[in-house]
Every structure is written in C-alpha cells, then in structure tokens.
C-alpha cells in the first residue's frame, strides 16, 4: 500500500515538476515581499528608521499564531477547529439549500419559456443586490444562525441558477431531435440528454458559488457576530488589533475556500466518470 502511494507520488512529481516548481517560486516571492514589507513597518533589518506600525506581522509570526489557534482556545474559549466547524455548518446549510432551489429552478427556467418569463423579473430584480446588503434584515428576521445561512444561500443561489439555466437552454437541438428519432419519451429526454448536458454548467456554478459563499459567511459573521465562526474570529481579533491571529484567520479562510472548491472538482470528475462522460 505504502509502495503504491510512493510510486504514485513519484509519478505525479515527475510529470508535474515544472508546475510544482513555479508554484513554489511564486509562493516564495510572495512570502519574501511580505517579510520585507513587515520589516519596513517594524523598523527592522534591512531597514532602519524605527517602528512605523505593527499592522503587518512577519510570516513566521502569522504561522506561529496559525498553529497556536488550533492548539489553544482563544478569548472566546474555542480553538480554530470550533470556529471552522461553526462556519462550515453555516456554509454547508446555505449551499445545500441553494442547490436544492437553484437546480430545479434553473432547469425549469431553461427548458420552459413560461417559467423563464415568470421567474425572470424577480430574479433580475434581486440578482444585482449584494447578498451582504441583506445582513441586517436577515439577522433580525431569521435570527443569529439562519440569518447568515440566508446570506450564504443568496450568494450561492444566483451563480448556480444562471449557469444551470444557461446550460439547460443551450442543449444542442440536434441531440434532442436524434433522441426523439430513437423513440425517447419526455422523461428520457430530460434524464438522458438535458441533465447530463447541463452537468458541467452546474459544476461551474457550484465552484463560483462556493467562493462567493465563503465571502458571504465571513461578512455575515463579522456583522452578526453569532458566536463562533472564522469570520467572527477575524473581526474579533481585529477589534483587539491582535494582528498575527487576525491574519491566521484569513489564512484559514483561504485554505477552506481552496479545499471546498477542490472537493467540488473531485466530485465533478467522479460524476462524469459515473455518467460515462469520460
């Protein structure tokens, strides 16, 4: 088992060493520039001139704070694990709700002209309003848990809706005709032609939506402060100007965002394979 993994690792590295090298180079340059800027602000070598501000800590300080936040409880009595759990709960709930509503709505609006023109005015009116604008009213109406979930819902809903709508609308008519010629019923058309065709668009919508969802949850937690959550953590640390820990929170968001989109991508590949599309 271990041998297989090692062989797999070697194969991956060999094939992708240029990409890996570039990734490391890019990160190294970023960290160096960050250190230089921090050194200038702190008045340390290679700069002289004394302390300007401590608003940007050194990368190693942020790393230490990052590790510490997972190991030890903060002023709120919870570790970063607890904050991640609180945020994940809300993002997951918002995501599932958005998917449950946007997928059927998008398919319907894409395939049925009546539904499209019925739904369009409402969708077009609400879409331009940034989800964050709804935070104060959602917190009051839906409360301290479902309020932020509602914001995440709004953030993820529209990308999925639009992508699914566009995808289901752009099914090649030739494919539909061909299926009909072969004797396909309406349900067959939907399940075997439209749905598989829309799948890539759905996955794009999910990827975009998840990114927006993370932005929404951080903002919603900052303004709602609902007791735990990475967004709340960042705002809390910022209030005390505990910058090392504040940046550590931001790194956590970056990692969580990357992980969730990565998982979505993996699921996408799995679904394609299962549907025989790859």
């Amino acid at each position: 088992m271990v041998n297989n993994l090692l062989t797999l690792l070697k194969k991956t590295l060999k094939g992708n060493w240029q990409k890996l090298a570039l990734t490391f180079l890019s990160l190294a340059v970023f960290v160096s520039l960050w250190s230089l800027y921090a050194a200038w602000l702190h008045g340390d070598w290679p700069f002289e001139g004394g302390l300007i501000a401590l608003t940007v800590p050194y990368p190693r300080e942020v790393l230490a704070a990052f590790v510490d936040s997972f190991q030890n409880a903060d002023v709120n009595g919870i570790t970063m694990w607890g904050h991640i759990y609180a945020s994940l709960k809300r993002v997951l709930a918002g995501f599932l709700l958005a998917l449950a509503v946007a997928l059927p709505a998008g398919l319907l609006m894409g395939r049925s002209s009546t539904s499209h023109w019925l739904g369009r005015p409402i969708v077009e009116s609400f879409r331009p309003i940034p989800p964050l604008a709804w935070i104060p009213i959602f917190i009051v109406v839906f409360g301290l848990f479902w309020g932020p979930v509602g914001i995440v819902f709004l953030g993820i809903f529209f990308p999925i809706l639009y992508n699914v709508m566009f995808g289901s609308r752009s099914v090649d008519p030739i494919l539909i005709d061909a299926a009909r010629t072969l004797g396909a019923k309406k349900s067959d058309l939907f399940l075997k032609v439209v749905l598989p065709f829309t799948l890539p668009y759905l996955m794009t919508g999910i990827t975009v939506g998840l990114g927006i969802g993370w932005m929404c949850i951080v903002a919603a937690e900052m303004l709602g402060g609902v007791g735990g959550g990475v967004g709340y953590y960042i705002a809390d640390r910022a209030g005390s100007q505990d910058y090392e820990y504040m940046y550590a929170g931001m790194v956590v968001i970056a990692i969580l965002g990357t992980l969730t989109t990565g998982v979505a991508g993996l699921l996408e590949n799995r679904i394609y394979k299962w549907m025989g599309m790859k």
């Binding site: 919870i78 709960k89 449950a100 917190i139 402060g225 005390s240």
Partner: protein, 372 residues
C-alpha cells in the same frame, strides 16, 4: 441509466435532509449548569435582538440600556456600578505623534482645558435638574444620541461625568490589565515586549496626568490657534458617556455665540470615519494616524496599545459607570444567577462591558462562554 439516476436523486435527497436535520438537531444547547452564553452584536441592534427574543439579555453602555427600559422592552438586572463601584469607563486619549511637537502639546493641553470646563458645566447642570442649563444639556443629549428625552434623563441617573485621574482610577486600570492577563485575552509577554517592567509600570506610564495639571493655567484665547489644521476628533456614535465633546462643540455654549473649543482657541473637527461603532475602531484609527484626540473606553485603549503598540496616551477621564445588564421586561430574572443558560449580547470581547460581565459572573461562581 434511468434507475441509477433515480437512485442517485433519492440518495441526494436523503443526504440533504439528513445533513440539514443533523445541523438543526446537533445545534441544541447542552445545559452546562452555571454558564451564561454570549454573542457579539453592535449595541445599536441589541434592543431589537432582545425584543425579538434572539437574545435573552444584553450588556451595553447608555443610552442603549435606557432605550429598552423606557421603551418597555427590558428591565435592568444589574448596573455596572453595582458590579464595580465608580469604575472608570470612557477616557480621552491622544496620539503621541500629534502631541510630540510644541504646537501639538499646546493644542492638546487646551483641548483638555475645554474638556474640563465642559465636564464641570455638565456636572453642575445635572445637579440642578430644574435649571435652564439642565434643559439645555438634555436637549444636546437628545440631539447627540438620537433618543427621546425620557431615555436620556433616565440614562443620566446612572453615569457620572468626571475628568480627574486619581489613584482609584489608576488601580482600576491595573485591575483591568490584570484581568486581561488572567483570562488569556492578553498575552502577558506583551507588557515586557512594549518595554514596561510590570502592569503597574505600564499603567503609570500610559496614563499621562500632565495635561490635566497644565490645563489649570490655560487661559482662553480670542483667536483660533490652528485654523488650517483642525484637531481630528474620534468618538463613539451616540455614546452618552462621551457627551462632553458634543457639548464642547456646541456653538451656543459661550455667550450664545461660541463653542467651548473655540473659547480656548481650538479648531476641532470630526475625524474621518467618526463616529465609530466601538472603542477598538477608534484605536485602529489612531494607529492609522487619522485621529488626533479620541474618546473611547479605557479597556480598548489599554488592550490595543499592548497588542499593536498603538502610540497613544490616556490624558483624562471622560466618565465612570453608566452600563447595565438588561433582560426582557417580563423575564423571570431577579439576579444574575437566574440567567444561567441564557444568551447575552455583548459589544465585543475588547469592550469593558465584556470584562464587567465576566467579573460579575465569576463573583457568583458562574462561567461566561461564547454561544456556538
């Protein structure tokens, strides 16, 4: 393919329902006996949160306490002076770089002279509730807080305006700093990192009494000393504790035609970003260099200086007391012990209200934990 799709949809549906139910069910509170839970909500939204039942209570500064009481939404369980008599609350702080120059020093001393005269006028007015000065003060407070007269009059009864920084003030600040150390809010190494030997050394250095002392010999000025570079003033929105700066800005205070700031030759303007929501925001503005002199709570003035080396000094007190713990008007709560397992809203963990609530609960053997 058909049956597989149907099965897939059914599995997806079960997963969705299961996940949502799990989230809802697992979220139920486990009563931990002896714990009060908190959430962070801006004080302006606390009354609504209490009215809708989103929280069971809150702790905030005036006028947000009397807001609920006069509005019939809540009742006070405990006033902050019952938690800690005559506890310092808001202070006046200056950005050291601003006061470094001779001109800056002069302006700051004059500012404190104006602050002292205003504070003394306010105390006098509050002592004579049938005087015209009292009515004038109430009108200004209504203007500043955007609350009605009854709220403001009620709020006045529970706070004290003062400018002196006596030994009790110093000990109280040392106590707050010690609390920060003990509760892990502040890393104890930060005290030495900032160059202080001890908490006592820190507080005695950070609190600068020279401006209050020098203000005694300041005379009014017929001309404005800084016409082109106004003092940028920071303060909290509608915070009745910080009424002094609003009164001092009022253009009818001196002979009906000048403000108290103008009397002492000062051009004072709102800083960019003012009014701020919480004290931490004032400290951030100090570190950005956009505020010269600010009114804020003593705890954020202490905490943020130690955490981020914000180069400020405390140069006068603004008020003491004036916060309260509020619960629903019909709640069966007679004291803090009845609030076990309840959820209380706080302005933030860097606020004095958080420290006061923690102190009050710990004295009763209760815990304070974040609601998750």
């Amino acid at each position: 393919m058909d049956s597989r799709v149907i099965i897939a949809v059914m599995i997806a549906a079960i997963v969705v329902v299961g996940a949502v139910s799990a989230i809802v069910l697992l979220d139920e509170d486990e009563s931990a006996g002896g714990t009060v839970y908190y959430v962070v909500i801006p004080p302006a939204n606390m009354r609504d949160a209490l009215a809708t039942g989103e929280v069971d209570g809150y702790i905030a500064w005036e006028p947000y306490v009397s807001d609920s009481v006069v509005g019939g939404v809540g009742k006070v369980v405990l006033w902050s002076d019952e938690i800690m008599a005559d506890h310092p609350c808001c202070v006046v702080a200056v950005r050291n770089a601003f006061a470094a120059s001779a001109e800056g020093q002069e302006l700051t001393t004059r500012f404190i002279a104006a602050h002292i005269e205003t504070t003394e006028w306010m105390i006098e007015a509050l002592d004579h509730t049938s005087s015209a000065d009292y009515d004038k003060l109430v009108a200004m407070a209504v203007d500043f807080t955007e609350r009605n007269e009854s709220v403001v009059k009620e709020a006045f009864k529970h706070l004290q305006y003062k400018y002196q920084m006596d030994s009790d003030f110093i000990s109280a600040l040392e106590h707050f700093t010690q609390m920060y150390n003990d509760t892990g809010i502040l890393d104890p190494s930060k005290i030495t990192e900032r160059g202080y030997d001890s908490i006592s050394d820190f507080v005695n250095t950070y609190v600068n009494e020279t401006y209050v002392e020098d203000a005694e010999s300041i005379e009014p000025s017929s001309t404005i000393l800084n016409p082109n570079s106004p003092i940028r003033l920071g303060y909290l929105a509608g915070d009745l504790h910080q009424l002094a700066q609003f009164v001092a800005m009022n253009a009818t205070m001196v002979d009906g035609s000048k403000s108290i700031f103008e009397k002492y030759g000062l051009n004072v303007k709102k800083a960019p970003g003012a009014p701020f929501a919480v004290g931490g925001a004032v400290m951030t503005a100090f570190s950005a260099g956009t505020v010269d002199i600010g009114y804020l709570g003593a705890p954020p003035a202490i905490l943020n200086h130690l955490n981020a080396a914000v180069d400020t000094s405390i140069i006068a007190q603004a008020n003491s007391e004036g916060s309260g713990i509020v619960v629903g008007a019909d709640a069966e709560v007679d004291g803090l012990r009845d609030m076990v397992n309840m959820t209380v809203a706080i302005p933030g963990t860097s606020s004095i209200q958080f420290l006061l609530l923690k102190t009050a609960l710990e004295e009763r053997g209760l815990e304070l934990e974040i609601k998750t």
